[in-house]
Subunit: 505 residues, 2 copies
Amino acid sequence: MTARTARRQRRQNKTAGALTQSRWEQITYRRQPVEILSADEIEAIHRTGLKILRDVGISVLCPAARKAYAGAGFETAAGAERVRFDADGLTTLLSSIPERFTLEARNPAKSLIVGGDKGLFSSVGGPVYCMDIEKGRWRGSHAEMRDFLKLVQSLNILHQEGGGGFEALDLPAETRHLDLFYAQATLLDKNWQPWNIGRRQTLDALNMAARMLSTDLDGLKSRTVFTGVINTNSPLQLDIPMAEGLMTLAEYGQAAIITPFTLSGAMSPVTLAGALAQQHAEAMAALALTQIVNPGAPAVYGGFTSNVDMKTGSPAFGTPEYVQAAQVSGQLARRLGIPFRSSNVTAANTTDAQSSYESMMALWGATGGQAHIVMHAAGWLGGGLTASFEKLILDAEILQMTAAYQQPLPVTEETLALDAIREVGPAGHFFGTDHTLARYRDAFYTPLVSNWDNYDAWREKGGKTAEQRANEVWKQLLADYEQPAMDPAVDEALRDYRDRMKRAR
Amino acid sequence: MTARTARRQRRQNKTAGALTQSRWEQITYRRQPVEILSADEIEAIHRTGLKILRDVGISVLCPAARKAYAGAGFETAAGAERVRFDADGLTTLLSSIPERFTLEARNPAKSLIVGGDKGLFSSVGGPVYCMDIEKGRWRGSHAEMRDFLKLVQSLNILHQEGGGGFEALDLPAETRHLDLFYAQATLLDKNWQPWNIGRRQTLDALNMAARMLSTDLDGLKSRTVFTGVINTNSPLQLDIPMAEGLMTLAEYGQAAIITPFTLSGAMSPVTLAGALAQQHAEAMAALALTQIVNPGAPAVYGGFTSNVDMKTGSPAFGTPEYVQAAQVSGQLARRLGIPFRSSNVTAANTTDAQSSYESMMALWGATGGQAHIVMHAAGWLGGGLTASFEKLILDAEILQMTAAYQQPLPVTEETLALDAIREVGPAGHFFGTDHTLARYRDAFYTPLVSNWDNYDAWREKGGKTAEQRANEVWKQLLADYEQPAMDPAVDEALRDYRDRMKRAR
């Protein structure tokens, strides 16, 4: 391999088809995060969060969780759900959460760092529906969900799969998660997020992850393979399925991403500072529970504060308030020394200009705030109810661009190019110079779906919108997809667990 | 007016129709600019710029400009076009450019600050074609150009009109600018940019601006009413029309925006640091000429560095390189203490997702770099060859969002809302609290074109894309447009000048 070829491969690689995409690499944040509040203002939010937990507390619906809190010395009352927190006890517990941890993938080359100066992009998880530009929105099947996973596997810029894209509504609700976990374990060799609602579902995920890594549940305890989302029921409540999921993840050394659902004006105050104080309180209370269950277990601070439209009650996403909240959430997570999760979200119902500018705003918040995990980074549409095949591709483009922006801009004698400028002189051209010829192949970002043709050339190629080109890209990627190899014994163990559990329910 | 009404009016106002838009207000940059290079790296680019001007110099095609440079002590040779610059002489000249200045509008309430912590958004100028989603791209008429100006006048977020939107191709090329200036002076009461190619056209603009302000050419010398774009012919050349435009603007105390057209890989080195060093050199040389002509005249540092696609030669806009270049350009302008101009640009040929995400990237560069003037901030499409009616509206939305993001996030006892959180408690709701009721009306950003409905409500309203809604918005704004009043004598003076000059050519 020549130096030139090596350099090219460092920057991008080609898929089997004609598509060019960025190479596999986590984001590295090399610059200062955007900090829109002063240290004093962050301290004021933090102190308000502590006061909320002391004066109001959290309603904890799960008896086992209440018992855990009581065991750690927090104030509970017999027969009441409320748990109140003293600042010292809470602060001590939170200090044992690691600032960074390794998240294992089936393919060790795709294991991830969560925390520090590293960021990762995770695909959309949670939507009920799926969508493409040909059929509109529909109730997706298991086969279609598998296609979505194949695309997530194919896109290098997606460092983690985020929970199945959309639900396989042709499968029984009770055991749907088992088919999902099997698909994730086998179609992907990158890290994936489980569903973790309640203890049984979370244990199913852990059992299948253990088989995927040829270990057992005890073996998992020292190997973090999961980040799992835990939402508090804002305001100030932790329900049973979420508490169980949290405690089960923590018990086995897995990372709960604690994400309060603090929509300003509805589930939290109409003022952003108040919504963030409440988010901070809820996050601290639930984060503390991970450490009561398993001191030193990894956990992640999730910021999801946005607002509702006060006229209609609709949630707004990717708005100016969302960007500010995301960046302040990054400051609050850094105040605690805990890895930070944000998201790429939009309220748009179709892949139009709005879906792009709201997503760009959200990403500006997430990466400006230096989120360690950007969830729903690709494919989210319609306030999170829909996963879109074209949005997955369009988002992959903006993620690639965002990642490329984070790359260094080298300033050296060679890059300052004084000799080339002397050589070309006034009114000359740089195309043919040695300086250009030695560097042009990987000098600039290469797009996945953007078209830079002039108008006439663009018309000659059919005058396609980015959405139409994204449709072609995902079909090409799907055609090119190759399933990562798996030891047949591991596959057999996974199938066996899935099928046994299905029969048992 | 109650306090509540006053507060609402501070944040937004309604047009005659059902549209809500942000109120008239310049951007205030309250936070640190994004600085991706160290002070040492900026110094290395600055020093390289000085070396380029010392060793290579600039080819100056205009004899009067060469004579001016020679008179200021810079090295010229009889019969040769090249001018070379010593660092000390150049630095002294640049130091007389003001860090900020006032830019007058016909309506004094719409006069602008250029520099300091203020930013302004200017509409697209320069395109040949116009476009809407119904007719596609076409050669626009004077009447259609006037419609475009009316929309620019109507949108509060556009602080300046940027040069006519698109050319009126039904008018004779020789006198088209006179009809443009008359339209700008009469249809708008906000500041507008002239065309300033060559001395005669620039003098026409100055003469009409003087009449608009009921003064004369001498009276203009102490009142800056114009920012006019001056492009160098990269690499390292200043042509006759541009030099004449620059000198005429400076002579009359008007601000030249010096904007090198340094596309990396074609007209400048393939390495971004080299392209920026060359941009810096060209900008400094032309900025110096403004001060030779008129010491203390306002001038602006324009950053437009992007790159070409090395496979096709097409210029790329709104790419990761563009964002980095814009932010570094801001650092270089601040190094010189000169106001900074950037742009909102995209290569997309239609108002699709690409046009939005490239525009958002470009704005990230421009406002992260704290540009004092963001040109082409609304309406630009297809690499600047086309002005789009829908893009104008879609961009107005993202500009409003960007401006709202720059607003403070107040952290006070009142906004931290501890009492409201205590009152609502776990599992409650904030809709009905006094804290919410006192603030909900202007608590959050109100969109111009974004739709936040859920999927079913959105479908019931026709399932329109943002582009379709933007089409409705501009038609509504056009129907609501009211021409700002003008003294009939001023109008007559403008018509008289326009018609006399037309007859004379």
